[in-house]
Structures are given as structure tokens and as C-alpha cells.
Amino acid sequence: MKACMGKILRVDLEKRSFEEEIIPEETWLGYLGGVGLAASLLYDAIPAGADPLGPDNVLCFSSGLLTGTGAVMAGRWMVACKSPLTGGWGDANCGGNLSPAIKQCGWDAILFRGIASEPLVFIADAKGPGLEAAGELWGMDAIATEEAILSRHAGGKLPAVAAIGPAAERLSLISGISNDLGRYAARSGVGAVMGSKRLKALVLKGNRPIPCADPAAVKALSKAYSDKVRRQNLPGLMKGRFLPVLGKIMGGKQVLPLDGIMSAGIMKRWGTIYNNLAGAVNGDSPMRNWGGSVAEFGARHYGKLDPDRIVKRETRKYHCYSCVIGCGGVVDVSDIMPGISHSHKPEYETACTFGALCMNDDLETIYRCNEICNRSGLDTISAGGTMAFAIECFENGILTKADTGGLELRWGDGKAMVALLELMAARKGLGDLLADGVKKAAERIGRGSERYAMHAGGQEPGMHDARLDPMMGVSFSADPTPGRHTISASVYYNVSHVWEGVPWAPKSTKIYPKGEEYEATEREADKSVAGTCLKQVLDAAGGCLFAVATGTQHWRIFDYLDAATGVKRSREDYMDAARRIQTLRQLFNVKQGLSPRDSIMPQRMAGEPPLETGPLAGIRVPIKAMVSNYWRRFGWDPETGVPLPETLAAYGLPPRPAFQAAKLEVE
């Protein structure tokens, strides 16, 4: 099969040894690549009960099947391991420039096991793989590390670099891995795993050609899509301050069928921060640690987060490898933080977690928090979620000034937020207690703080409210990497057109009442399953969620895969591969002794008790019934979430582990 390199590299950091392995054809057909390849490799490689920060955990960097084939929007890489944050399957996904570099070195994935005796840097170039002492790089922030490495290669082809910052070196369980000067594979605590292995960076500088079965067909698809994106431009009169109107339409009582390609124009103009205002008015943006609403954080506050104000600081747009939209940006924040030469524009997730979630309307605080996280290596979503937890604990007297070292942690106090985040990045004082996320923090603090710890299975959820989009809540609660906002949601599903060629995926082509989304029906479960499967195909291909958000009728992922691999398959075949991947990820959690029911998001996030004000007032989400339906439609036990023996047999997966998962009680 084309499109893949056909080989992986296994690195033992303890023995400093390398071993190439050819991956058989049936693995590519069954698991595609990317996250699927990682799942197929790690299920066996990581033993049950392995310490996530110990030598038996395996950290796998994998490229996407479509990366480097001429497909656009297909430059994302995946890092997977056993998560120290959740204790189960962990993965994180990032754009930047690393994905083609993995393949250009001759592999589809690089796996690291063991713990190095001293901090190391992994280097791969035309001479092959090698390990070097990290030396003075250990202790440097993630961006400075990459700049130092790039400066050593000036005058020739620059390598792609993935690096960790000091937070990951200090094993913060909410740390990620940086690439391209501050783009992050942030979730699941993957940075801590890399830090535990004393692996400071990957430096990849290969030149191998990436095979493609039918380059002309792939280019034809890319040109057609690029033409459509090129034509999507918003009129100059469309200002950021009008975005609340869009938000109200998106959160209306009737769900309208929209052509997703329109989102390309919005992303080109602002990137994800368009949702700073749109999400504030329709309830998508969680406020006051998921307990507040726009009634408290009104236009006077959220209006200050107008994306036009942020875009004004852009010195240039930022495109990940092969991206034709360019939602990112490099911003000039030197007036706020003198000496900072390169800073990525804050994403919506960052702006919300350090904004509305903490009731903060000060953009300067958001820039500072963004920079602290990007340099130290903290995941902005988890760091902001943990900060909101700490503030709520302080406001309710569970934490006092004696605990905080004199800091007054109040909603919206930007100075206190920055000070606390610096403590978290340095693991000092209260920051040490908070640097492992809300679940661990609540366990350490006790005194009833658990009720303010908003996490799913240990991971702080993305900044999208399930009371507006219950499918998002199902993803938060039922995905093997819980708390993730990029898996499946009605806002993605309704524009995806995944149902074209997949008969079991419910069509969403007509106006329907929003209320339908709050019912635990078979249709809603099938939408969640189909959306999840599409995401698995996407993560196997190395594709971008924002490409799928323009619709698969435009960004033709299945046709791309056929043309690039040279194996023509039905869409149902691809969705079957996705079911296999998802089921194996779930099985990994069971093997590691996790009960899937324990990942269900907190009652507050499901509307128990319901909000009293704002657009989501009075809304309850029957999350347990929805999760149970989702499990059943995946062929998993609806009471425990454990894949059924017949499902495992149908997908050629290993037998059920002996662990008995706890049952879910659905009211």
C-alpha cells in the first residue's frame, strides 16, 4: 500500500538502541495510520498496570496516512501513550511541521520506551537515528529549546523539532509537547511522559520521498478544495463585534443546515477566536468554572475579547504544514512582554479558559497566560481549568491566603491569575499542588473541593458547553481520552456530510428542533458514533478538524485516501476501520483497569443543578443514558462500556481483559 513508509522505529532510551520494524499490509488496511497505527502498536507494547511515568510506558509519535501525499489539510501528527492524567489511553494531536518530517526520516511512527540515564535529544537525518546529550537544553523553555536547535542548523534545511518545556521536565501531568515554536500536542499529559523519559526533544531532518499511488488524482482533489477555500472571504464590513449574531443563530431553537465551507472564511479572518464572542452569547463558552452564564459576564466583559483586537496584533498568518486556510497567527506582544520575539496567537480554547471560565475580560492577561503555558509546556485548557477550580475553592473558603502564599484568588483578577500560573509552571507553593490538574488537586486539598473539580476521567474538558451541545458531552464522557472537545459534536456533525456513502450515519440535511439533541435516542447515539468514527479516520489520516468542519463533500477525505493509498475502499470500510480503532482504544482502558463509567463528566456540566440564568438556563442533559446508548451502538456493553466479545471478534481484536468494570446506573 502506498502513502505510508511501511516502517516504524523503536527506540530504547535505556539501552540507547534502535530497531526498525516493517509493518504488515493488514495493519494499514485495518488501522490506516496515525492514531490507528499507534493504537495497534501500543495495545500490546504497554503492559497492564504500567506506571505512566515509568520505563514500561511507550511514547509513540506517528504521522498521518495522507501527510506528504499532496493532500491539503493533512499535516497533523499524533502522540500517544498511557496517560498519566487519566490512567488510560492518552493521545494528543498537533499541526505544525513535524508530521511530514517523521515520514521523510523513513518511518510512519517513532516509539520511545525506557528511561534515559541523562537528558537526551533524539536526532534523525540522512545518516539514520541517534541520541545526543541534551546538555544545556534541559531546563530551557520549549520555544527557546527549538530556537537553539534551529540555530545549530542555520544555512541548510531546517529540521522539524518537537520539544518539552520545564513543566514537562518537572512531570506536571498537564504538560504537552511543543512543535514549530509553540504549537502544542497538549492533552493527556503527554509532555510529562516525555519528561519522565528524560527526552528533551526530537530533531527530524530527513529527505526521503513520501509515496503516493496516484499523485495526479490527489492534486486534483487539492486544487478543487483550494479553489473553494480561496473564494471564501468575508466582506470587510463584517467586523468581530457582529459575531454575537452568528452565535445566536448557531445556538437558536431551530438547527439550520449550513454549508461548512463558509467556516473557511471565518477561520481565515480570525481563526478559532471568532468564538470568543459567538460562544459567549449562545452559551458555548463555559463561565465561572462551568457554574456561571453570560448574565454575569455580559457584553461589557466578553466584548473586550473581540477577536478583531487580537488580529490587530498579528504580524503574519500561520499555516500548519499543507494547510490552505491558515487559522493561526503570529502576534506581536512585545509591548506586554518585552523581549518576546515569537508568540502564537491565542486559540479560542486558551482565550476562554483564561477568559470567561475565570471571569477575566483582560486580554493582556490572556496573552501572558498563553505565553507562560507555551514556554513552560503547560496545556492551556487544563491549566485554565485548574485555575478556575482554585479560584472557586478560594472564593468558598476552601483555600485561604495561607495556602496561596498571600495571593487573593478572585474571579477576574488577572494579576493573581498570572502569578498563580507562574507558580504552577515552576511547581512552587500552591502551584506545585495544582500542576497535576484538578483531579489530583482536589484529592490533595480535600475539604469538599471535589465538587469544584471539573474533569472527565481526570482530564479538564475543552471549552464547549455540553448543555448547548449534548453530543459534545458524550465525547467528554465516553471517549477513551475523556474531556476532549475535538471528537464529536453536533456542530461538527451537521456540516460533515459523513452520511454520504455511510447508510447507518443519520442524515442531517433539514431544519430540526434543537430539543431533539437533548433526547437519549438511537438517532442521537448514531450521530455520536458516526462523528466519532469520522474523527478516527481523520486522526489516522493526519487531517485537520477544520477541514472536516468545511464538510467532507468539499474536503474529500475518503477519495483522498483511495487515491493516495491506491486501495479503493467504500466509506463503510473506512468507518469500520474507525470502529476498530475506537474499540481498541476503549479496550486499552479496560486492560489498564479503568471503568468507563468513571469518565462521565460531573453533574454540574450536565445541568445538575441547572443554570438559573443565561441561554442555557434550566437545561439538563441526560448524559448517563446518552453514554449508555453510545456504548451500545458501538457494540460495547451498555452497562459497563466494555467492548462485547462479538464486537472484538468482528474486528479481529484481542479478547476481553479479565478486569471487571463497574456498572453505570442510568436513572
Binding site: G68, G70, A71, V72, N97, P100, A101, Q104, G155, G156, K157, L158, A160, N207, P209, P215, V218, K219, S222, K223, S226, V229, R230, N233, K268, R269, E314, T315, R316, K317, Y318, H319, C320, Y321, S322, C323, V324, G326
Partner: protein, 83 residues
Amino acid sequence: MASKKVPSFEYALCMACGSCLPACPFGCLSLSKQGLDRYRTAFPRLDRPESCTGCALCAKACPVDCIGLVAASDLVERKKENS
């Protein structure tokens, strides 16, 4: 002696996706803010022509076929005309 070939970019077609950058074995290309569109997009350009061998791997990698190979002497002429 015929002038060596080097890449020339058709910026009206270029999507600034950067696929050409890692395709170059010698790191001859870089992103440069050309001011050619409303989004402050950084487009690729031939930054180190002296290292370019005219291998055309960048053109092959371009998903929208916006890179052509032209004689280096022509490129110099075009730059003069544009300046």
C-alpha cells in the same frame, strides 16, 4: 551554457500551505510576508538560490501546482521588472 532552473511561484494560485518547504532537500525556500493578500499571509520564496539544484521536488510537492521551474537568469530579469 544554459542557465540552471530554479522555482518560480505563481502567487495568484499559491495557498501558502508550506508543503514546498520541507520538500526542498537543501532548505532553499522560506516564508516571507509578501503583502500580496488581505490576511498578511507569509508566502514561500526562493531564499537561497545559490543552493538550489533545480531538482523540482518543491514543484512536485505543491498541491496546487503553483511552482514552475524557470531559468535562473529569467528570474533575475523578472525581479528587476517587478522592483
